[in-house]
């Protein structure tokens, strides 16, 4: 079995959950991966200080799309305050595959976008 391109990764890549747009939405952000030009945006609907619903849009590699898809399921229902606390480890653990230094930004792009939309902090998660 492939270490990186596991079945569930390819499944999330090919059938991403929560992809599309959400209109109206309360929060949004759009970020690029400067290494490859990939683009990922998010729309978020907020209720009671938590993420009621969200949708990703844009394009990217299997790692970045699968990461966004997998994360989207966890983010729904999360308190906004919690989102601000999420670090790189959370995302990498969730992905469950070994991510090389170069592909790290692919894996973290969605978290950067979501944190950017929620907290206004546009730094890469560490």
């Amino acid at each position: 079995m492939d270490d990186l391109y596991r079945d569930y990764i390819l499944d999330h890549y090919k059938r991403p959950r929560n992809f599309g747009e959400l209109d109206p939405h309360d929060l949004e952000a759009l970020e690029h991966n400067p290494l490859c030009g990939d683009e990922l945006g998010v729309h978020i609907l907020v209720k009671d200080d938590q993420i009621e619903d969200l949708r990703f849009h844009g394009h990217g590699c299997a790692i970045s799309q699968a990461a966004a898809s997998i994360a989207s399921e966890e983010l729904k229902g999360m308190k906004l305050a919690e989102v601000g606390e999420l670090g790189a480890d959370w995302m990498i653990d969730l992905l469950g595959i070994p991510v090389s230094a170069t592909r790290r930004k692919c894996a973290l792009l969605n978290l950067k976008v979501v944190r950017g939309a929620v907290t206004g902090d546009h730094a890469w998660p560490t």
């Binding site: 492939d2 990186l4 391109y5 079945d7 390819l10 499944d11 090919k14 059938r15 290494l35 490859c36 030009g37 990939d38 683009e39 394009h59 990217g60 590699c61 299997a62 790692i63 799309q65 592909r103 692919c106």
Partner: protein, 421 residues
Amino acid sequence: MPPVAESTLSVRADFPILQRRPNGRPLIYLDSAATSQKPEAVIAAIADHLREHNANVHRGVYALAQEADAAFEGARTRIAAFVNADPLTTIFTKNVTEAINLIAYSWGRANVHEGDAVLVTQAEHHANLVPWQVLCRERGATLRYLEVDEHGGLSLDALDRELERGDVRLVAFAHVSNVLGTINPIAEIAGRARAAGALTVIDGAQGVPQLPVDVAAIGADFYAWTGHKALGPTGIGVLHGRREVLERMEPFLTGGDMIASVDFDGATWGELPSKFEAGTQPIAEAVGLAAAVDYLAALGMERVREHEQALTARMLEGLAAVPGLRVVGPLDAAARGGLASFTIEGLHPHDVAELCDREGVCIRAGHHCAQPLMRCLGVGATARASIGVYNEQADIDALVHALQSARGVFGLDGSRNGAAA
């Protein structure tokens, strides 16, 4: 398509890094457009210089400094001769990016005014694009883009129409596109620009490593290239300029070694090429680059070109057999340099590159520092395989094999359950 000669080059053994066997497989390096590998002759020349002849140049009286001087200025002479340029107008920079910035700052700020235009092509590398954006913004000038057609070509008629508008002060374009592979008709473009009173800047980053280049015959005002793509070391670029233009320009970087004299009130500038070479130059790097051009000259650039064209033809053939694969740029190997950028349906370029690496095949994925072109092509990124003198047919075949396997991993060949998607 004319029949292409089989390549007669077989120099893999000259390149130490290609003897590496990651995971017990041969290293298949197909990323020469990003940077080339170095023959032992270049590595040895640098090490030998540092072990035997190192001193600062231009001002030392002692014998060791004279050796260093002779090595450095001798390197300049050999490098200039390699592309038939004058050593006096052959300026060292740190890379081609600095060379183009030098022109934008020194020539551009003095000569591009409000209402003027700078013309570039849609296919330029950021190095030959962003400096012109910055210049035009600062000077209140307009940056216009020459369209690239669906075969990756430029239209000379469109060029003429742009030039006829009468406001174009400078035309900047690549000798060989690092994405499309297109070999541009540079002497023709330079001639038309010159006739219209515009200066020309040619980004030769992908030209010098692959093609015989005759700077004098091309007749551009500036021709710039970069050492590390031409079998030389990092840390050195080369700018050839037209003498009258260079002489009228103010210097770019100022400091030691580029002055005639300095007093408290100001300074006067040294002669060419010193005027544009402030501070300690890339001395060992010049020695290394001279060894690189000597190596290329010994192979013969005509033969290098034949070799790359033969392998490119084979690559285009191989790629055509991969389902869902689309190559951008001209489809005739005679019209392009030794590289191919492509997309594969259902596979992101990053994943393509990652999966190629599993088979020891090094290719690049991304926007290749040409984001506007990516937009024109309607893609976010491409994968790119590029050829060097050291590549062989087996490398090309390994690439095609790796691409087929990559499709398999993603179930695109119907072999994996995910395939249904």
